[in-house]
């Protein structure tokens, strides 16, 4: 019974710790783990290795720490490895300090602190200049305790032996009767004494409190999590998943511009932009970041540029950020894709060679990205000019496409979408007219809903546009007329009143977007 109790008390802290770690890492921060892997350079090349080794012990720690981060490409693997290492640290610490089981929970405090340091991070991942050093202190702590462990074992043995020797010599001098009646203090001690349980309870409480604090520190911003989920779905060309995430957005929480951009990109890729763009959540929520930065560019810039046919700008921002933040696999990945799209094979091969030196990347240039590139190629039919975006990715893309003339069908569609988003009536009409025969030919004369809504609205606003030859659905016409009637009836009320009142009926229309979605700022 005593033995069973001892085992339970001994196993409780590590089991609880492991469970807690896995809940925090996989349950709360799974997407973040995957993102950390993508943002951490780790390559099995002599050049990368020697660069780190030139930094001495810190470089070796960084190499090991980067390796841990690299395993997070598969979050479960990374989380398991990290959990095991954190547990190992606690056990080594317990061993080094020769603590009894009753105090063992205290040994988990440093591990919980280190875990918290990792899980408390969010947007600063993108501006962190020492990628790969996240677990340096964990590695160093393990190394120190591992080195100290045999020494402390030897020291304990030595001191115990010398104390036993002195006791033996003392006992030789004392009387035999006293000698026989005395037993060693250790043999007398019960493993489950009340004092031990009290100590254990205090230490365990300390561990639980630290666990609570770690959980409290953990960055749990829902928008950030959704951004990462969308980003990873975009990476995998899984556009439906992006829309699913957008739909799951908490209605009380405004999305960030990154989420809006990802959603619109997915809608465009799935050919749904003309039907559904304005029925998805829109917003410009602040990023829950400690400092103001161009997070849209830092997180989503290369992806948006690449998938929207601007490989030079995708490449450029990867290169700029690589200078600031290191040779991160995600940058290399989009530099590779952009080079492929640009037909720069030798350059793409260079990036592929480097990425293939990462243990969790396997790139076959002959097969990978071919479908993806084929889908983007129709967006590349534009002339070269000298330009610049100033890092304002969304604004640049909207402006660039809305004012673009001609190009492939895919480009004109994108231009039309951008003109709608910018509420640009003048750019809308030539694009709309250019697309009419396409819809007639390809879509059975069915014009996507938002374009019909925009045409009705702009014709109404301008007054001199004849839409009699344009195939506008009757129900859309009716809805529009109803909207006009309601707007006229409630014109004495302010915009805020009308926005709230009309939202249930018209919240998914371009009209609502045009009148009531205002003042959004790209960030």
């Amino acid at each position: 019974m005593k033995k069973t109790q001892t085992i339970i008390f001994r196993l409780l802290p590590p089991l609880l710790f492991i469970t807690f770690c896995m809940i925090v890492l996989i349950g709360i921060r799974k997407e973040y783990l995957e993102e950390v892997a993508g943002m951490t350079p780790f390559y099995l090349t002599s050049t990368y290795g020697s660069q780190l080794m030139s930094q001495g012990l810190w470089g070796i720690a960084t190499w090991c720490s980067s390796a841990i981060c690299a395993t997070m490409t598969h979050p479960l693997l990374g989380a398991t490895l990290l959990t095991l290492l954190l547990t190992l640290l606690a056990l080594l610490l317990q061993y080094c300090l020769r603590l009894k089981w009753s105090w063992a929970p205290l040994c988990y405090l440093p591990s919980l602190w280190l875990l918290g340091n990792f899980t408390c991070r969010g947007y600063d991942l993108y501006t962190f200049k020492a990628s790969g050093t996240e677990f340096n202190w964990l590695i160093i702590a393990i190394a120190i305790t591992a080195v100290l462990a045999p020494f402390t074992a030897w020291w304990t043995k030595r001191t115990r032996r010398s104390s036993e020797n002195s006791k033996t010599s003392k006992t030789r001098q004392s009387s035999k009767s006293t000698q026989t009646s005395k037993k060693s203090p250790t043999s007398k001690k019960s493993p489950i004494s009340k004092t031990s349980i009290l100590y254990f309870s205090v230490a365990f409480l300390g561990m639980v409190l630290m666990g609570w604090y770690t959980h409290h520190r953990t960055f749990k911003d829902e928008n950030f999590r959704n951004i990462l989920r969308m980003k990873h779905a975009v990476d995998k060309d899984d556009w439906q998943q992006v829309l699913d995430i957008a739909r799951q957005q908490n209605p009380d929480l405004a999305p960030t511009r990154i989420q809006v951009c990802y959603t619109r990109l997915a809608l465009y890729k799935l050919g749904l932009s003309g039907e559904s763009t304005f029925s998805y959540p829109d917003g410009d929520a602040e990023y829950a970041a400690p400092t103001v930065n161009q997070y849209l560019r830092l997180i989503a810039g290369p992806q948006l540029y690449y998938f929207l046919g601007k490989p030079n700008y995708a490449y450029r921002w990867c290169m700029e950020d690589m200078v600031e933040y290191g040779l991160r696999p995600q940058y290399l990945s989009y530099m590779l894709r952009s080079s492929l799209l640009n037909g720069e094979k030798a350059l793409a091969e260079k990036y592929a060679r480097q990425l293939n030196a990462h243990p969790f990347y396997q790139i076959d240039l002959e097969h990978d990205y071919q479908t993806e590139c084929k889908a983007i190629e129709p967006l590349l039919e534009y002339n070269n000019i000298l330009d610049g975006d100033g890092g304002h990715v969304e604004a640049y893309l909207l402006q660039n496409y809305a004012t673009m003339r001609g190009g492939t069908r895919q480009m004109v569609t994108l231009s039309l979408d951008c003109a709608l988003i910018l509420k640009d009536i003048n750019d809308f009409w030539p694009l709309f007219i250019k697309m009419l025969p396409v819809w007639e030919h390809e879509n059975g004369n069915k014009i996507p809903r938002h374009y019909q809504e925009a045409a009705l609205l702009f014709a109404n606003l301008q007054g001199n546009i004849d839409l009699s030859q344009v195939n506008i659905d009757t129900d859309i016409k009716e809805r529009f007329n109803n909207l006009i009637a309601e707007a006229n009836a409630n014109s004495q009320y302010g915009d805020e009143y009308n926005a709230t009142r009309l939202r249930p009926l018209y919240g998914n229309t371009y009209w609502y977007y045009f009148f009531f979605t205002t003042g959004l700022k790209t960030n």
Partner: protein, 533 residues
């Protein structure tokens, strides 16, 4: 510790000595695939071992490097060679005027195949013992991660002269470091380099004396940019440029570096005085270069007359028609005055644009790059190394001098070795984006031989390096100032230069429309945000 090193050395030597050439190898006429491809390149007798990586697929590899007189030569095993430096130099010395052969054996499916030998002629003339270069990621506006390094040519020793990361904490406190240049191959111990933005200024090193100068004056366009040391006098000719970077939306050259204004100045380091050389606002002068006798200054210039009040917009729209000729001005060291400008090469006349004139140390040849437009040919696919004889310049006052195209691949930023027999240049020919260093022998008949890539201890280094080699310069003597001394000088305040009028015998000065450069930073950056978002 030393015993331990000896033991390892003996072990390595024993292992390397045990490598034997396969006796039953099947011969093939197929060329072996190696990186870097230096087959046929002429080598100097003091170059570091030409390590290579064998890219032909196989299970095992043996490389045999030998000469006719030393057929035993060097035998190495493995996919990547790691040639012993002493043994290599012994082989090289014996191969002067002859050829070094490299035969590669590859084992596939248990059978050895012997590939045709790679041949490298070795000449008598040495390369200069040192070079220096800037290692920089080929980015556009971010530049924290920069080193200036010095490399010994006879082995692989690379020493960091200046590490910019010691100063750059973030964008606000960071700076760019560029344009390191030496007088007379650093024989005089005089060196200069620029820092831009935070800690901005020009470091002037004169032996033990070091100072930081602010070469921007109220009367000049910017601080000094592209430098040219006078071969003997304490003078540096500079271009002063209002430079911007604009981005190609589709072209794979990706970025265009445009001068929206540029002039030439002369800096006298004894008096800290700055003189105008050429400051015509309709002429865009840049890239000065002295003749070895110090009596002629060569430079490039484009003619453009500003039409609106927005020169940035104008040039962004016609960047591909802005072309540069090569000009020169005679210089009188006694009066310290420049004479009349004359046309050296009328590149515009053939719809081309010339850049970076560099005269050979014997004064016989002018080396330059020729591209389709512009002056920053390092990004231009069309840039080619070209050569013209200096003695025919006088016979062609219109600048229609016949010239030769030396190489059929992209190249830029070239320089002559001190003996005039070697040309060093950078090129993006390897992967299209990261410049690597190339060295070509220039023979007495004025012919450039096939270049070789800078050898590395690990041959894959050139492939795995994600930085470009930039502004390579030859040096006869190493840099004397230590990294610490340079860094101390960087931290000092910049001394202001004094404007002292024109250095022309017959000064001409027209008013410039809108000079827009901040004081210490030098060349102004025009960021690519053309739209008010």
């Amino acid at each position: 510790m030393r015993h331990y090193q000896y033991l390892i050395a003996i072990l390595i030597l024993t292992v390397s000595c045990t490598a034997e050439l396969p006796k039953d190898a099947m011969q093939t006429q197929e060329p072996v695939n190696v990186f870097p491809d230096n087959n046929g390149a002429t080598l100097p007798p003091n170059i570091a071992p030409m390590n290579l990586r064998i890219d032909t697929e196989g299970e095992d590899y043996i490389t045999h490097i030998y000469t006719k007189s030393d057929t035993d030569g060097i035998i190495t095993e493995g996919k990547e060679t790691d040639i012993d430096i002493d043994r290599w130099h012994k082989l090289l010395q014996g191969a002067k005027g002859d050829t070094i052969y490299t035969t590669v054996y590859v084992r596939t499916n248990g059978r050895w195949t012997q590939y045709p030998a790679l041949k490298n002629p070795v000449v008598e003339e040495e390369v200069d013992p040192y070079i220096s270069y800037r290692l920089i990621q080929p980015s556009y506006v971010d530049y924290e991660d920069i080193y200036i390094c010095q490399r010994r040519m006879s082995d692989f020793e690379e020493k960091v002269i200046y590490d910019n990361r010691n100063f750059s904490v973030d964008a606000a406190t960071g700076q760019c470091v560029n344009c390191h240049a030496y007088q007379d191959y650093n024989r005089t111990g005089r060196m200069q380099m620029h820092l831009r933005q935070h800690q901005g200024g020009t470091l002037i090193i004169d032996g033990k004396e070091r100072r930081k100068m602010n070469l921007k004056t109220d009367s000049t366009l910017s601080a000094g940019v592209y430098p040219a040391w006078h071969p003997t006098l304490p003078l540096i000719a500079y271009s002063v440029n209002s430079t911007g970077q604009v981005f190609h939306t589709r072209n794979t050259q990706k970025v265009e570096v445009i001068d929206y204004g540029s002039d030439l100045i002369l800096f006298d380091m004894n008096t800290n005085k700055v003189y105008d050389i050429d400051c015509d606002p309709d002429e865009y002068e840049t890239f000065p270069a002295w003749a070895p006798n110090g009596q002629t200054l060569y430079f490039c210039a484009a003619h453009y007359e500003q039409k609106t009040d927005n020169i940035d917009n104008e040039l962004d729209n016609c960047y591909d028609s802005l072309r540069y000729n090569i000009y020169s001005r005679p210089y009188n060291p006694q009066t310290m005055k420049f004479g009349d400008k004359r046309t050296v090469l009328n590149a515009v006349g053939i719809q081309k644009s010339a850049s970076l004139p560099r005269v050979s140390p014997d004064g016989k040849y002018l080396l330059f790059t020729l591209g389709d437009y512009g002056q920053f040919h390092i990004w231009h696919h069309s840039a080619r190394l070209c050569l013209m004889p200096c003695d025919s310049i006088a016979n062609h006052p219109q600048g229609n001098v016949p010239f030769a195209v030396l190489d059929d691949q992209q190249a830029s930023y070239h320089s002559w070795s001190s003996n005039g027999r070697w040309i060093m240049f950078t090129s993006r020919r390897f992967d299209g984006n990261y410049t690597r260093l190339y060295f070509a022998y220039f023979d007495l008949n004025g012919k450039m031989h096939k270049p070789f890539m800078l050898p590395q201890k690990r041959p894959t280094y050139n492939d795995e390096l994600f930085r470009s080699y930039n502004v390579p310069e030859w040096m006869v003597e190493p840099v004397q100032a230590s990294k610490n001394e340079l860094e101390q000088t960087v931290r000092t305040d910049a001394l202001p230069a004094i404007y002292a009028g024109s250095a022309l015998e017959q000064p001409i000065r027209k008013e410039r429309a809108t000079p827009t450069v901040d004081a210490v930073s030098g060349a102004s950056q025009v960021r690519g945000n053309k739209i008010n978002y």
